[in-house]
């Protein structure tokens, strides 16, 4: 078995490494975070980049086809790419990742052929390179053989392809291990992982609970599920108990979300550090006291430091979809709070703040 699949190095070894190499975890934002505003045209690309930069989050990640209209079917004009570089330079930012979506179900009733899938990935590699990205993000549903077939091309273009490891998957899930084995067998350094911190959910997110109650889950059942999650009860028990409590549709759906977190140990990233190059700082809710109540960022940052992680943590606000039925999300304020939390955890001396208004 190959090096990065071995059990983790000891703490002792880790600490020695930390002394030898200076650790520098960087802050960034995935513009996914501002989707509620950009969807409605309330924030422009420049607003997104300026806001992130003002918070000291200089790494910019995008979902290519969210930020650039036309991609991939209609292509993107060079002037739009030029504008991107102009904005990145203006705000002293760094392009981090183009998150792509391989639409292998493009043709109704038949899956896209293998070679066309590889060509599609190469197209996204080209686009990532045009944008000056270091990484392109792949979804985990993609056949690892497709990524392996595109790895040399990525290497030539200076791009790494990163599989997003996202709940309900985790680093011990057989499907992820299959990817890891394929990556090791390929011998390529152009293949890696992008863990989404949502997989380390250690409490039931309050915004999930409130949404489930709005769509009809009785409070007693919602309280029970929240408590059962905290007590780490096996999901199958919780689902059956909820049914016995008289829970129907939305209550069962709420209980079934527990199936999505079968493992939540941040330390499991340590085995894979050599292939982890970017991190999604997923969050559902940042409270006024700069705490994400359901994702253990203190422990996450501790583990990343231990593993000598040198890349970005990009804010990825996903509370929007859980609250939008009841209130307009304030994505910028949510991102600001997470950036304050991250800066503190990273030991930065200056607190991030917004000195300019969001819309220019």
């Amino acid at each position: 078995m190959i090096a990065s699949l071995q059990p983790t190095r000891s703490n002792e070894t880790m600490e020695q490494t930390e002394v030898a190499v200076s650790s520098a975890i960087l802050r960034g934002v995935s513009l996914y975070s501002y989707q509620n505003e950009t969807f409605q045209g309330k924030m422009s690309l420049e607003d997104c980049i300026r806001t992130s930069a003002a918070l000291g989050a200089k790494g910019i990640e995008i979902i290519g086809e969210q930020t650039f209209w036309g991609w991939p079917e209609c292509g993107v004009a060079q002037e739009d790419v030029d504008n991107w570089h102009r904005l990145i330079a203006k705000y002293d930012c760094t392009p981090v990742s183009h998150d792509f979506m391989l639409d292998y179900k493009r043709y109704k009733g038949r899956e896209m052929p293998f070679d066309e899938q590889v060509a599609s990935v190469k197209n996204d590699i080209d686009f990532g390179a045009r944008l000056g990205m270091k990484f392109i993000r792949a979804l985990v549903s993609i056949d690892p053989a497709v990524l392996v077939a595109a790895a040399d091309y990525a290497q030539e273009k200076g791009i790494k392809i990163l599989i997003e490891v996202h709940a309900p998957l985790h680093f011990d899930h057989p499907w992820i291990i299959r990817h890891a084995e394929a990556f090791e067998k390929s011998g390529s350094d152009a293949l890696g992982f992008l863990p989404d911190m949502g997989m380390f959910l250690f409490k039931f997110p309050p915004v999930w609970k409130e949404k489930f109650m709005r769509i009809g889950v009785p409070k007693a059942i919602a309280d029970y599920i929240e408590k059962a999650y905290e007590d780490r009860v096996l999901s199958e028990y919780v689902i059956l108990n909820v049914a016995q409590m008289g829970g129907t549709g939305p209550a069962i759906a709420m209980a079934e979300t527990l199936r999505h977190n079968a493992a939540f140990e941040p330390k499991r990233m340590l085995d894979y550090m050599p292939r982890i190059h970017n991190i999604h700082g997923k969050f559902y809710q940042m409270d006024e006291d700069y705490v994400e109540p359901s994702i253990p960022y203190d422990e996450i940052v501790r583990v990343l430091k231990q593993g000598n992680y040198q890349g970005y943590i990009c804010s990825e606000y996903e509370g929007n979809r859980w609250i939008e039925d009841a209130q307009e999300p304030d994505s910028v304020e949510q991102v600001r709070r997470q950036q304050v939390m991250l800066a503190r955890l990273l030991g930065e001396s200056v607190e991030p703040s917004l000195n300019t208004t969001v819309a220019a």
């Binding site: 996914y32 086809e65 209609c74 979506m101 391989l102 639409d103 292998y104 929007n320 979809r321």
Partner: protein, 124 residues
């Protein structure tokens, strides 16, 4: 997501042989048109037949059947498409418009349908 932003407020207008409104894809990205499996429209509780619906973006208009094999155009993130219903027309006043989209998302093992309903006014 974006369910309640699918129908653009104040966008109801007359068309030759029917009416139209502006609709947005309930998604955090866009989609190639071949992946739009269905667009369902009803007005005041009455369903418009699929054949009577047209989809129009950036000056190009498609039937829903045609869209299924369109590989060179997209419905972009947040983009306002004009959804045309050829139902013979609509009187002035308020109307309850329901708009649903069924989309084929590669990474999902099922085909989700998302729906929005709004009261829109047709000018006199």
């Amino acid at each position: 997501m974006m369910d309640n932003k699918m129908i653009v407020e104040g966008s109801l207008q007359r068309e030759d042989g029917g009416f139209s409104f502006l609709g947005r894809l309930p998604y955090y990205r866009g989609l190639g048109l071949s992946m739009i499996e269905d667009i369902i429209v009803s007005v005041d509780g009455e369903a418009i037949p699929r054949e009577a619906i047209r989809f129009c973006v950036r000056g190009r208009t498609y039937t829903l059947d045609k869209m299924e094999t369109v590989y060179d155009n997209r419905w972009n993130f947040g983009e306002k498409a004009r959804i045309i219903a050829l139902n013979g027309g609509l009187p002035a006043g308020n109307h309850a418009i329901t708009f649903a989209v069924r989309m084929r998302v590669s990474y999902l093992p099922f085909v989700p349908t998302t729906k929005d309903t709004k009261q829109l006014a047709m000018a006199a």
